[in-house]
């Protein structure tokens, strides 16, 4: 509802005239003179009140007449959704992220979306999308209301995290193909944490008009959640005081200081409870130790007792796998004795490693079966017995992993076992003025992973490399390079397994890496990466991916994978189980996974804890977002299809028709009064 000429509303001041005439001014009755009142008697009857009522009716008619005339000049209009003939596409995006489970947010949002869909003109095209962990397009742009409604009805609250930046990117990508005007209605709780770091990521193309339907009103209710869990994924010795413990961090969002009780539950049994005092909007840590868990996969859970406004996020699940220490086969050259010492020391020093190093020379590997080891290390062992090399190749193709460190022997033997390429050259930096340093480090590689590497290149800047082989990376992933660009660490997928190639040595002759603290972390992460224990247990976030099989073309018989979701269902079809490479963990809970290499895993999946902060986006930011189309539309004012979101329907004729009827009624009524006045005169 609006007015095309609102300045005419100033004429409403004229309404004061009938108010003054009828209500403010004292009504004067013209007395009728008579010769004498000798024969008259006073008579007041109900007709007097009737006359006053009639005067009020006349006043109402005159008031309405003036009002209608003024409204007619102001030209009122109502907004009607533009018909499909205008080419406007109605885009309904329903937020089904984890935070929508709080209260009645999702129900309210769905009802509003259904109401909007019901009000859609039949000929207008619409499209339904879900904004959860991933932006899901549920329908094409269609006019079938039943199909659209069914798509909306099928959306259920998920465990993913909404990201308005993802929405913006998806709509921008959509805008490249859809050039007509789009009305985007977003039904969401407008969570602040869903905003991207850069506001520009949220901005839509010029042809998109955003209408926000925020279902979360007012301030966010106080909410506590288990923000993070620090627990060993693998546990060999429950009595190890360093590793046999679980640390849970409880965080409060918009919450006052409170005492919370945490329960540590393993396989459905509560093992321990702790009380923590959580400061206002702060965090507190609770520790459960030692961990009395059995062998195998233990389904663990830390739960906040008592509940709050958002009970769904009061638990955090994870898996602790108890097993005996795994053996690592360390194959070294006949003259190399230091590398085993350094590597073994680092492996045992690593906090979360559960490995036992078995060091052998190359000649002693003939009768060894690599499949009995978690992974195999080839240190400066360029020459291997052919039978062992063949066994090792099969081991890698079935999912085994090998870590190859090229020592000084690389200069004499160009061939690198398992790698499939030769050493092209060697760099002996000790002959030059100074040793080389590590230049580029890919901290996203599992062996080098660091969430926030320091300014010293994550500790690698201090490392000096004296000798390194030059290897053509080919299809391998280069995880680290030296300062002159020589690849230092390469990762290559062979079959289901990995081969990690370190172009320098593990002793202190070719580099001083073993003397630096970063070496221990490097060995630890490399061991966990190569052994695959990292992906067999622990916890993940919803919407993270699990690689079920290698990306390479399968060799020989194709093995099926198997996934059982938290509800006990198998989300993969038989065809997908034979072909799918990755799987997205869409729901919170415990997933049972059998990889293509035959290894089983149980993974605890938790929602992203940013969803627990229910604070909505500030209203001014929402206005800025929904109005962000304005600037763009100014820039592309002449763009075709850039029309109003709604079609204004003028009510001028209806108002004037009503005014005419009121005028007629007023005339009839007033003429009756004037007739009476003539008689009085």
């Amino acid at each position: 509802m609006g007015f095309l000429a609102p300045w005419f509303l100033g004429g409403l001041a004229a309404l004061g005239v009938p108010v003054f005439v009828h209500l403010l001014r004292k009504h004067v009755t013209i007395p009728r003179p008579v010769s004498s009142l000798m024969f008259f008697e006073r008579g007041t009857q109900s007709s007097t009140r009737h006359r006053r009522l009639r005067y009020l009716l006349l006043f109402a008619l005159r008031f309405a007449l003036l009002l209608l005339v003024v409204l007619a000049f102001a030209d009122p209009f109502i907004r009607r959704p533009a018909a499909d003939t205008n080419g406007r596409l109605l885009l309904i995006v329903l937020d089904d992220s984890f935070s929508m489970r709080a209260g009645t947010r999702f129900t309210d949002a769905k009802q509003q979306a259904l109401a909007l869909l019901a009000a859609k003109p039949h000929s207008q095209k619409a499209q339904v999308m879900a904004l959860g962990g991933q932006f899901a397009v549920l329908t094409q742009a269609i006019t079938d209301g039943a199909q659209l409604r069914a798509a909306l009805e099928s959306i259920q609250p998920g465990d993913g995290r909404s990201n308005f930046g993802e929405l913006g990117r998806s709509i921008r990508a959509m805008g490249e193909t859809v050039h007509g005007p789009i009305d985007l209605h977003l039904f969401s709780d407008m969570q602040r944490t869903a905003m991207p770091a850069n506001f520009a990521d949220m901005v839509f193309p010029a042809n998109v008009t955003l209408v926000l339907h925020a279902v979360a009103k007012g301030t966010a209710p106080p909410n506590w959640t288990v923000e993070s869990i620090n627990a060993p994924a693998e546990l060999a010795d429950p009595k190890d005081p360093k590793r046999s413990r679980v640390q849970a961090v409880v965080a409060g969002f918009g919450a006052p200081a409170a005492e919370k009780t945490l329960s540590f539950i393993v396989n459905g049994k509560t093992l321990a409870t702790r009380k923590v005092n959580v400061p206002a909007n702060g965090r507190a840590t609770a520790e459960f130790a030692p961990l009395d868990v059995g062998y195998g996969f233990n389904r663990c859970e830390v739960r906040i007792e008592g509940g709050d406004a958002f009970p769904a996020d009061d638990t955090s699940v994870f898996i602790i796998r108890r097993s005996d220490p795994e053996r690592v086969l360390f194959v070294h050259g006949p003259n190399d004795t230091r590398s085993a010492l350094y590597f073994g020391s680092a492996l045992s020093a690593a906090a979360q490693a559960s490995f036992v190093l078995q060091s052998v020379t190359a000649e002693q590997t003939t009768d060894l079966d690599p499949s009995k080891y978690a992974f195999v290390v080839l240190s400066d062992a360029i020459t291997l017995p052919s039978i062992f090399e063949h066994t090792l190749a099969q081991y890698v193709s079935k999912g085994g992993s090998v870590f190859i460190a090229l020592g000084t022997n690389a200069g004499h033997h160009a061939r690198i076992p398992l790698w499939g390429a030769d050493v092209k050259d060697t760099h002996d930096y000790s002959r030059t003025a100074s040793a080389s340093t590590v230049g580029q480090v890919d901290f996203t590689h599992p062996a080098l992973e660091q969430a926030q590497p320091g300014r010293d290149n994550g500790g690698w800047a201090e490392t000096k490399i004296f000798y390194a082989a030059v290897v053509d990376p080919g299809q391998a992933r280069v995880a680290a390079r030296l300062g002159d660009g020589t690849p230092l660490l390469l990762d290559r997928q062979i079959g289901e397994g990995h081969v990690l190639l370190f172009t320098s040595g593990l002793e202190n002759l070719t580099n001083d890496l073993p003397l630096h603290p970063v070496f221990v972390a490097f060995v630890d992460k490399t061991a966990r990466y190569l052994s695959g224990s990292e992906r067999l247990s622990g916890s993940r976030l919803v919407d993270s991916y699990v690689q079920l099989r290698s990306a390479a073309e399968p060799v020989g018989e194709v093995a099926s994978v198997e996934v059982i979701d938290p509800s006990g269902q198998r989300p993969l079809t038989l065809a997908e189980a034979r072909t799918v490479q990755t799987f997205r963990l869409q729901r919170a809970g415990f997933y049972l996974i059998r990889f293509a290499n035959g290894r089983d895993a149980v993974i605890g999946v938790n929602p992203d804890r940013r969803e627990s902060d229910l604070e909505p986006i500030a209203p001014d930011v929402q206005q800025l977002w929904s109005g962000s189309k304005g600037e763009a539309s100014i820039q592309t004012a002449n763009a075709p299809g850039d029309e109003a979101k709604y079609r204004p329907v003028s009510l001028w004729w209806y108002v004037m028709l009503l005014a005419l009827l009121v005028a007629l009624a007023e005339t009839v009524l007033a003429s009756g009064y004037m007739g009476t006045q003539r008689e009085d005169a």
Binding site: P31, R32, V34, E41
Partner: protein
């Protein structure tokens, strides 16, 4: 004749002289008799002389022929006196359409004066009163009397309120000769009180006539809705509903008229109801009949 006596027509004539002449000439012409008939020294009879009779009335010619002494007697040799008592209270200015009751009363008085002085050669006088005597023109037949009477009528503008008791005491002092006294009023007073106030005039041998002037709306008022009525004399206001005027009021005014008529007739006076939308001939005919009866 009707055309010349119609009050609506007369209301357009500003001069009372012309108005009265129009009315009277029209009225007299309608009688089909000579205008001078009965108004001269007319022989009536002979009567034998008796001692003490005035010798001036002896018919000496008859005595010379017959030596008998007879007195010769004439008809109409005695003149009457007309006095109009005009009510000039505020209630007389009421009208529902021309003419006003006051104007109608003036028309009647002027016509009577004209008829009396010009045609009958009677003495005529005027008393204008409301709650006291406001104007008095002594009855006379002198030259210019008619003009004085008309001037008195012109100056008689309605004001104040009616009170019969107080001015009628003065009437008795002003009226020494016998004659015809015509009281013109709307008589908004109790009939008993009116008769009691006017009755003394009758005791002096006057023929008293009450001309009751009323507007048609006063007899049959029409109200379409509740109305606020104001008394022209007292300025009192009351709200009246139409149902009352259709029933109770009509009964009351009819009873008033009838009571006034019966009381005046019982007191030996005449009563004539004159409605302002009716011709004036009724009033003139009443006067002539009275004068004829009195002579």
């Amino acid at each position: 004749m009707q055309r010349f006596l119609d009050p609506a027509v007369l209301a357009g004539i500003s001069s009372l002289d012309l108005l009265a002449k129009t009315v009277v000439d029209g009225f007299v012409a309608g009688l089909h008799r000579s205008p001078d008939f009965g108004f001269s020294q007319e022989f009536a009879e002979y009567r034998a002389y008796t001692p003490g009779d005035d010798l001036r009335h002896v018919d000496w010619n008859l005595f010379a022929r017959t030596e008998r002494c007879y007195l010769k007697r004439y008809r109409g040799e005695t003149n009457s006196q007309l006095v109009v008592l005009l009510d000039a209270s505020n209630s007389m200015q009421y009208t529902s359409g021309p003419p006003k009751k006051m104007d109608y009363a003036r028309f009647i008085a002027a016509s009577l004066f004209y008829l009396a002085i010009r045609n009958q050669r009677d003495a005529a006088g005027l008393i204008v009163f409301d709650d006291e005597v406001r104007d008095y023109v002594r009855p006379s037949t002198r030259q210019g009397q008619l003009a004085r009477l008309f001037a008195g009528l012109e100056q008689a503008e309605p004001r104040a309120r009616t009170d019969f008791g107080k001015p009628l005491q003065h009437f008795q002092e002003l009226l020494h000769r016998r004659g015809i006294a015509i009281v013109i009023s709307d008589f908004y007073e109790e009939p008993e009180k009116i008769v009691r106030a006017v009755e003394p005039l009758r005791f002096h041998g006057n023929d008293v006539v009450l001309f009751h002037i009323l507007d048609p709306q006063e007899i049959r008022p029409l109200l379409k809705g509740p109305a606020l009525l104001v008394d022209l004399e007292t300025e009192q206001e009351i709200e009246v509903i139409p149902e009352y005027t259709k029933t109770a009021y009509r009964a009351k005014i009819d009873a008033h008229i009838e009571q006034l008529r019966s009381r005046t007739q019982a007191a030996g006076m005449d009563y004539q109801l004159l409605v302002t939308d009716q011709p004036l001939d009724g009033a003139l005919r009443e006067y002539l009949s009275l004068r004829k009866a009195g002579n």
